[in-house]
Subunit: 425 residues, 2 copies
């Protein structure tokens, strides 16, 4: 493998010509693939097909609760008890909701704007300014929520151990407009980052100028391992309580990537006061979530062991796709000096970092070759990656053969875009 | 039957003593019944038990859409096509949501406060004051939404043909703070009122000072008939378009009282611009509703005829309960001069009107006798029924024998409370 950064102009011209040829050959194959979103493949969905016939005609009771009728605003106690340990809280501090955690996150922000949270002096919309810290690269849908509501987004660099805590601590200590931070603490979207124990402790301990500050803890990939190692992170909720900030954590999760992406169960968890506050809000909008779907999940998953066994089967499908992409990158981009990538131990994404100023061009070239990637920049607030270098790759949906083709498409797009950039420099 | 209003003081004292004895005899029976909410009975839920096993293990496609995965923000086209005619709109102007229409109503208000609707000049929360017209008696959960968000509620009398339109027209023409009106146009909660064609036309035609005024059209009982006559109301959406106010109607509905109260499908419908506006909002909070549940409903209901057949079976269970209550009232309260009641042709409620100043006492006496009724006043904004005369009765949940006992409990509570009141006068 040749390091492009060390080539003479002439070598680079030759290399660029070759890269163009390879790219055109790829275009000629006429592939049509989509790597934009963390969408499970049909094979993964098949793992939970039993859900399609559950709970079964005669089965509608959870204890004495008729799941078909109104009621149980907080969700079935039995399913809360099953899912609570995954999120490190007790069942009485879990609320089960719709089929996504995103709606919980959206609504937690919307409710705070309209009413304030349980520690707010007034509704957030009455504040002159509201800001959230956004570790970058991060999850675009978090940013879209802030954008929707005019919330300022302050990017914070993400290190291998989580957000740069010295930056976070400094900002939240002095600026009372900063009301929240978005975190995907385990197998982070899009880098696969796992927050260290020190990071979690510092998030729990740090003084904040806003007394109603919240950590939006999007634990989307709590059980979504890609290796045999079932990584655990520190318990933010417990740490917050220990450090005298019991209400700091808003915890989010769902079974969307455990069972059905479109038909799972979303989870909100937090302190006693946070849960009481949240229930007070939703009692105005619902008589309770879909308890039949909750019962259905209870019957399928049965216990924490059931979740683990199911996630092992997801891993058996997903891990080879990640390996395929990483192997291709190692083989074809290794030591070129123009790209690096993360090696996630879980979650749904790989982050590819290319030469500054090349990410948009790579995505554009890939698109022209029939390969849809997440728009460059989406990993940053307002779609603005200041270095234009980060690309999010989602290998879950295509099959293994398609992932292999996609890898080739990404590689040739990177080689062409970056050699072009270097030539122009 | 003796008219209490025409009794001599002595006759009244004797009558009151008898009423107390009857009441005490009822208390001694130790019944424990709940008539508070419009909750379907288990027998009604049984009608849709097939849902518990649907769509079935191998069935997850609607056309080419994999219902298990993410996507289809607006809901399955096939189910939209099935439900659209019930609400008098085309399928492209329907959004399918969670398991309740209440969340659509709540969110339509919340989104308007945070963002304004598609005709607003600014978010409603930036207005000095927001007000809604509330036909009374009305649905408490509508009022709770307004209360949650500090929206002023202006009561408007409900006539046999719907809200008093001369009052409505006068108010909305002059006050730009009035942004909406709550309507349950068919078999209204709690009176059973059916809006006349003239009412619907006037709602559609009337000039409003607020250009972003909306009719919140909670068509909760669109197919919930209690007689063989399948009453139709005028099409508000079409009328609004005809009168140059195409965006005026926000239409809400659900299958909660068609299939499972806790596991149905909610519906929002409106003009093209309203639907586009609403989709723009929810694309920040969800990747689409639970399509597996939508498919399940498609398989169960199959077509509009399927809905009608199912609703006939609900009627067979519900109508005798309503008849039982009305027969008891006729027999025991008729011509007493102290009470009157509605005879709904559909929906879930009977409104009982008692002597001014007696409703709270009736509910209190009933409660002491083991019979839970909706708190008196709940039919009015802020729980304030100025005449303290309206009681909402929900006979759906108890079985027929229990409804019979409940009727007796209501009757004896009314007789005691009202004779007491007359004695004290």
């Amino acid at each position: 493998m040749t390091n492009l950064l060390r080539m003479s102009p002439e070598e680079l011209r030759g290399y660029h010509a070759q890269a163009r040829t390879r790219y055109e050959q790829f275009v000629a194959r006429g592939v049509k693939l989509n790597l934009t979103r963390g969408k499970p493949a049909a094979l993964q969905l098949d793992l939970s097909n039993e859900l399609l016939g559950l709970p079964g005609r005669g089965d509608f009771l959870s204890g004495t609760i008729d799941c078909r009728n109104y009621g149980e605003l907080q969700g079935l106690p039995e399913l809360r008890a099953l899912l609570a340990p995954v999120f490190g809280v007790s069942a009485d501090r879990v609320i089960l909701g719709e089929n996504s955690s995103l709606s919980f996150m959206h609504d937690a922000v919307a409710f705070s704007l309209l009413k304030g949270n349980c520690d707010s002096e007034r509704p957030w919309h009455q504040e002159p300014r509201i800001a959230f810290l956004c570790p970058v690269p991060g999850y675009d849908r978090h940013f879209f929520i802030c954008q929707e509501f005019g919330i300022d987004m302050i990017p914070v660099p993400l290190s291998d151990a989580g957000p740069d805590m010295s930056v976070v601590e400094r900002l939240v200590a002095s600026d009372p407009a900063i009301k929240g931070i978005w975190c995907v603490p385990k197998y982070s979207n899009p880098t696969g980052t796992v927050y260290s124990e020190a990071t979690v402790t510092r998030l729990a301990r740090m003084p904040t100028a806003a007394r109603d500050f919240r950590v939006f803890w999007d634990n989307a990939y709590a059980v979504h391992h890609l290796t045999e190692e079932r990584l655990e992170i520190a318990n933010l909720d417990a740490e917050c309580a220990r450090h005298g900030h019991p209400n700091r954590a808003f915890i989010f999760g769902s079974t969307s990537k455990v069972t059905f992406a479109g038909g799972g169960v979303g989870i909100f968890a937090g302190s006693k006061d946070n849960v009481a506050w949240y229930l007070k809000r939703i009692e105005k909008r619902t008589l309770g979530g879909d308890k039949v779907n909750q019962l259905r999940h209870l019957r399928l998953l049965q216990d924490t062991g059931g979740i683990d066994r199911l996630m092992d089967r997801h891993r058996a499908i997903l891990a080879p796709k990640f390996a395929k992409l990483l192997d291709e990158f190692d083989a074809q981009l290794g030591n070129t000096g123009i790209a690096s990538w993360t090696r996630p131990k879980g979650g749904y994404f790989i982050t590819l970092e290319v030469l500054d100023g090349c990410a948009k061009q790579v995505v554009k070239l890939a698109k022209q070759a029939g390969l849809e990637l997440t728009p460059a920049g989406n990993t940053h607030p307002h779609g603005n990656d200041p270095r234009d270098s980060i690309i999010r790759l989602a290998p879950s949906f295509p099959d293994l053969n398609e992932v292999s083709q996609a890898a080739e498409g990404v590689v040739v797009s990177v080689l062409l875009a970056c050699s072009e950039k270097l030539l122009a420099a």
